[in-house]
Amino acid sequence: MALLSLYNALKRMLALLLVGTVLTACSHADAPWKLTDVSGHLPDLSFDLTDDNGQPVTGHSFEGQTTLVYFGYTHCPDVCPETMARLMQVLQQLGPEAKDVRIVFITVDPARDTPAALHAYVRAFDAEHAIGLTGTDSAVEGIAKRYRVAYQMEKRDAKGAYDVTHSSAVYIFDSHGHARLLATETDSIDAIANDVRRVVESPSS
């Protein structure tokens, strides 16, 4: 009896270990990615927002395009412009392949970021590949929740200006709208360009 219970205990532990290895290993089918592989762990691209021309957009609007989704706001002092600049360099490295890549800038400050403000901001970086999206508070909160993005308004200063702290991650979706990779501040431009090219060339089915 005691032996049997011990045997069962061991079996249980082995099962747990196995689940662990499967969970970590399932993402490394072929060559490892330089960015963080999130395939299968995040929901597909889906939202109801307004683009910087005031037109309604959904996740399906980007079908056939690889999207680099970034959450930010136009009053952002340093992180957002820096990230956008880095993404511009990624596009340069991609060369002609950049034609099927879109940079989607979703505001976490819909109160101040009107479509016009977003248009001026985002198109200044790249009029061809970058697009700004805004929406109602709940629509923005919904998509942030969907991708586990934290953001919150900080205290207003004397002039009523405020910062919004937010995640600096870039979410990379393939042309079918499946979440594939996460790029962070520490990932080099080369690494991002390399992996984005792989996603463009081999979207998941």
Binding site: M1, S5, N8, L16, R148, A150, H166, T184
Partner: protein, 291 residues
Amino acid sequence: MSSLFYWLEPWEPSPTVVIAVLLAAVLFARGARKARVSIARHVSFWFGLTALYVALHTRLDYFFEHEFFMHRLQHLVLHHLGPFFIALSYPGAALRAGIPFSWRQRWLKPALEKPSARMALRVLFNPIVAVTLFVGLIYFWLLSPIHFKAMLDWRLYRAMNWSMVIDGLMFWWLVLDSRPAPPARLAPGLRILVVIAAIPPQIMLGAYIFFTPHELYPIYSICGRAFTWISPMRDQQIGGLLLWIPGSMMSVIGALIAIRHWLRLSTRERLVSQRMKGVDAKPERVAVSVG
């Protein structure tokens, strides 16, 4: 009042949580009228159940998802505090009495008497399995790559939280049982051993997280932190401390309660063993005391 409703709004609504908590509440409320339940046990049960609900289904979940030490706090409630108080109220009889008699006859009894169900319960409540599961689940979900995916993938996140609740209920039910064995699954002395065995691994992991000089769980920096005024390292250290001190403290309290039950039962235990001397010792009892 409106701010209370703001905080009670679930961050990620889950029908499973609502149904499970409501079911437990209705069964206990119904059954407590038939089975005699003291006020202290009432308080203990409702406190534990409320704690579980608050930790699973309120706006606090935003902070649990986006701050490591808040996540540890959530698991302290889900794995230790909530199940501890529910088990302490010893609600089995009341919950059972809460099920309509005909349902008990038709579904519950046959289900529990199935050989597979008995086997599963015997395995799950084996002392080695119980300690391994209790500690193993904490370690498993805190492995860096696993934790990363659990905080990103909502399905894994829910599986993680539910596994903590279910395991917590099983473990504390086993440890805080006040009856002699049998009918309790573990002998009173073994219950003390089981809960004490779970202390060192929690202290070790908590200390390891506290003393690690680099970020073990980068997911919080990637997705953004809820408390931007706390540095990532400080967040990690508080999280480690929460596992190290309150986590193991709960086990110490559990051990003290188990010791009290053991002392209280010691006279009766002697009677049981004296009674057993005349008859052949039951094989099940031998297995329990060896295992």
